[in-house]
Amino acid sequence: MSTFHQALIRVLPSGRKLVIGIPFLWLFLFFMLPFFLVMKISFSEATVSIPPYSQIYGFVDQKLQVLLNLGNYSLLGADELYISAYLGSLKIALLSTLMCLLIGFPMAYGISKTRKEMQNVLLLLIMMPTWTAILIRVYAWMGILSNNGLLNAFLMGCGLISSPIEILNTNTAVYIGVVYAYLPFMVLPLYANLVKHDQSLLEAASDLGSSNFNNFWKITVPLAKNGIVAGCMLVFIPVVGEFVIPELLGGPETLMIGRVLWQEFFNNRDWPVASALAVVMLAILIIPIVLFNRSQAKEMEARA
């Protein structure tokens, strides 16, 4: 019996290995491995078959042949559509991250200054929209921004404008939508950081004659660095690949890479080009992603 037990122990992985192994395997299989597949398919050619791409290696006449088609990548470099889509995405992501930071920082600061009870309620109010479909929140703006929508009606009622201004289906609407959808993701990490600050530092600085403004720039902002990085990355990275907002609020001039990828994949059924688009997007985003992961790791250490 005991030998059987020992054999069983030897065969079965230990608890420790199992605890690490299960999430590791899942994430490896369903998150990391797929990226290598995307890379592989980005080197194949689109064909009319199921699945709609060619094999990149074959075994012919006892020779292993690997055919790497670089055409997809040269297409990305040659076609102006793709380049301007990448640039458009980066520009919209950068500007809206900045706007989120400018609006979100005072909000997070304001929350961290209220009573503890109030903080929980306010946090809940900020957090709730992140659980609600981005689709629905964007849809809400469609009704408000349209030519005969509430915003135009309001502005005309005030006498500020005489005829409706076109906002829906322009880049302005995309900016409004992006800031609206991603503002909570900026506020939450900033708050988590700001609330940990030691108030005595500010008091000490004030006692030594530092102005409020000086306190803010020389103490609060540097201490909040990890929170700022985390918040900015939580906004910037997903916005670069955003699809729903430009599709619903943007117009024909709104070129964003997520939208182009979607069209290549679903409308043109060109899986290899879509894959190449994804690979290049990932290459652009890899530095921000590493920055984000490092700020997360630091934040975790700081709390421990």
């Binding site: 994430l27 200054k113 929980n120 659980w131 609600t132 479909a133 997360q296 709390r303």
Partner: protein, 291 residues
């Protein structure tokens, strides 16, 4: 009176900015007029009309089913991941593991969706599974990214916990598994509930991942809504959207309420236990223990 500072003003304006559009959407869903921009009095007809829309109702049922499975799996997987991140300090590939856990939070959905679809296609070719994409593939996709959210929520809680309670149980001879289920799990239960609800909501909301990895006949609610919304604002969609909004708000409120209650109960229990121990220790016949 409290000084009305710039940050308070921004906070109020920001919250208005976040909530006004949703409020307007809900109000207009009760609009009797077929024209979505003209107010024609209060009415429930768009909500009643939804019940007859069998295609929509089918997608609602499908989305709810996926969301339930996702919540369960994501909590299990995310908790394991959080436990590894906070309690197993040293093992090979820890940095990679940490990256794998947090990266799904920021990864653009179009990339994750495309890559998972390619994985499923390759798997179908190689091992013959999944033969057709549908509920299971959507469930896998949702579980992967929801687990990341659960891991963040739960690991924050695990880090706050007083390790000495777990250590005490182990010192008294409890096996690690027993400690985990009898000590750790009850202490992190509120964040498990929060993570579960969050996963449920996220899964219910997801459009992009589901569009990539779903197959024919497995249209989820957001996909149904999206194809309708693309053509413009419609009163029926106002009603669906308002229902989703209200369901999620109710759920959020419940999570908040229960976790607050659980926290208060826990604090009171600890306080009572401490008072009790204190009064026992200070009984007159015993020599008081040195502090």
């Amino acid at each position: 009176m409290k000084r009305f500072s710039f940050s308070t003003l921004m906070l109020v304006l920001g919250l208005l900015f976040i909530y006004l559009p949703m409020l307007i959407l809900v109000i207009y869903s009760f609009n009797a007029s077929k024209l979505v921009t003209v107010w024609g009095g209060w009415s429930l007809k768009w909500y009643l009309g939804l019940l007859d829309n069998t295609q929509l109702m089918g997608s609602v049922a499908r989305s709810l089913e996926i969301a339930c499975y996702t919540a369960v799996a994501a909590v299990a997987l995310g908790t394991l991941a959080a436990f590894v991140l906070t309690r197993v300090t040293r093992f090979k590939g820890r940095t990679l593991f940490g990256g794998l856990v947090t990266a799904p939070l920021v990864m653009p959905e179009v990339i994750t969706g495309l890559s998972l679809l390619l994985l499923f296609v390759a798997m179908a070719q190689m091992i013959g599974w999944p033969m057709e994409r549908g509920l299971v593939t959507i469930w896998i996709a949702h579980t992967t990214f929801c687990a990341a959210y659960v891991a963040v929520v739960v690991s924050a809680r695990l880090r706050e916990l007083d390790l000495s309670i777990e250590e005490a149980a182990m010192d008294l001879g409890a096996r690690p598994l027993k400690v985990f289920f009898l000590i750790t799990i009850p202490m992190i239960a509120p964040s498990l509930a929060a993570g579960g609800m969050m996963s449920f909501a996220l899964s219910l909301d997801d459009l992009v991942l589901a569009s990539f990895v779903s197959g024919p006949g497995s249209t989820t609610l957001p996909m149904e809504v999206f194809s309708a919304v693309r053509l413009g604002v419609k009163p029926e969609i106002n009603a669906v959207a308002s229902l989703i909004l209200m369901a999620v708000s109710l759920m959020t409120f419940m999570v908040w309420y229960f976790s607050r209650k659980a926290e208060a109960n826990r604090k009171r229990a600890i306080q009572e236990a401490m008072d009790q121990t204190a009064s026992e220790t200070w009984q007159p016949q015993r020599t008081p223990a040195t502090a």
